[in-house]
């Protein structure tokens, strides 16, 4: 097995085992989104209008939940030292850790979203659009989050700091993700434009995130 494949398998194994926190994000997502109809009352039109925004917000917060442990856990037990001494480029290792994190926390959100969509009175087309935007947009959240996780790597309680650092950077993703999802469910605006920009944001974050996070890690290890 190559170094990167080994890293992917290891991170996914750790995430799905006891204490790994893979399902924490999706549980948080389900709880938050399921509470909204109770808070807002049985106004179906209102729920339908704000449903995509609620789900996107919940997904955003849920995907940040386990992020602070991404590098901090490896830093605390000394694994990060050995990772830095490995022959695999750090940028690729960071990217593969991001992929593993998305597969274990981001992808379950995408799968769970249609169920919660029912709570929020979304019809079939709106749900399909929502799932599509989440599928395309959540990798961007993870890869932008890599930067914050790398910056906070040496802090023991870096969770909130990661969220504060990362949330402003995720605003464009949120705007265009919700815009695309809303375009199908309520708006007269076209779906294609915001969706294309969302795709572009994701592609950019896939490139920028690993490089920035790797640079931050190298700096932090000094």
């Amino acid at each position: 097995m190559t170094a990167l494949a080994a890293m992917l398998v290891r991170d996914m194994r750790i995430a799905v085992r006891v204490g790994g926190g893979a399902l924490m994000g999706v549980l948080f997502f389900l709880v938050v989104a399921a509470m909204v109809p109770f808070a807002l009352g049985p106004d179906l039109e209102l729920l339908k209008r704000i449903g995509p925004a609620i789900l996107w917000l919940a997904a955003l917060l849920a995907s940040l939940l386990a992020l602070d442990r991404l590098f901090a856990a490896d830093h605390e037990d000394g694994s990060l030292d050995l990772i830095l001494m490995g022959r695999a480029p750090l940028e690729l290792v960071v990217a593969i850790k991001g992929v593993a994190h998305w597969l274990t926390t981001g992808l379950p959100l995408v799968v769970a979203a249609p169920i919660i969509g029912l709570f929020l009175n979304l019809d079939g087309r709106a749900e399909a659009a929502l799932v599509l935007t989440l599928l395309v947009g959540t990798p961007a959240l993870t890869f932008i989050g890599l930067i914050g996780a790398a910056i906070a790597v040496t802090l023991h309680r870096g969770g909130l700091l990661v969220a504060v650092l990362v949330l402003p950077l995720t605003v464009p993703v949120l705007i265009f993700g919700v815009a695309a999802a809303n375009a199908v469910s309520s708006g007269p605006a076209p779906f294609g434009t915001p969706f294309t920009i969302l795709c572009a944001l994701t592609l950019a974050s896939l490139v920028v995130g690993p490089f920035a996070a790797a640079a931050a890690l190298r700096q932090e290890m000094e």
Binding site: M1, A6, V18, D77, G78, D81, L84, M85, R87
Partner: protein, 241 residues
Amino acid sequence: MRLTASNLACRRGGREVFAGVSFSAASGELLAIRGRNGAGKSSLLRTVVGLVRVAGGQLALEAGDPELTIGEQAHYLGHQDALKPSLSVRENLQFWADFLGTGAAAIGEPLAKVGLDTLADLPAAYLSAGQRRRLSIARLLVVTRPIWLLDEPLSALDAAAQQSLTDFMRTHLAAGGVILAATHGGLGLPAAREVWLGQAPSPLAGEGWGGGSGAGATTSTPAPRLATPSGRSQREGGEES
């Protein structure tokens, strides 16, 4: 292969940890790094592998692989074990074999050598401190790298494990490897030379290592000790220093 440091300096957190450290270690040589607590033994090892930036002086590796950094040709056995508690012994070792190594290395034999083959399927969370240490040592055996940097390698190990680590080190040196070991006690092997960091060795430091190892534990030949005028750093022995 020859690892050479000249006038190496290290700063951490704005504080000078050590400066003017020079040493040289050729293939088959064991270098003992000594000094009191906080003198910078671990920092020196971390500087050599590139985990801490070199603040001054030079590090060079002759006859190594020019494509790779020193860190990429070295094993670092630090205070932390780099083990994931939720993964089994086998999974932990297999991961490092795959990540640090080049190909499919067999992990069965190294596990048996460190006496953990019967625990291969146990999650690492249930290992004792000594067993965790043994599992880290197995990493050195699974992936072949010419330079070993060991930070207090004998800590937490029982007499038998100390003896086997000494044997692994002897085998590594015989195969042309280089070992730098930070230690307060002995290593069970004669060091080619010693590098002293910080103040001159007090009568308490560096004397006999109190045994523990059942067999073959010999105190290293004490090298002549030179105090530099600054008293900040000293280097020892060695024909080329």
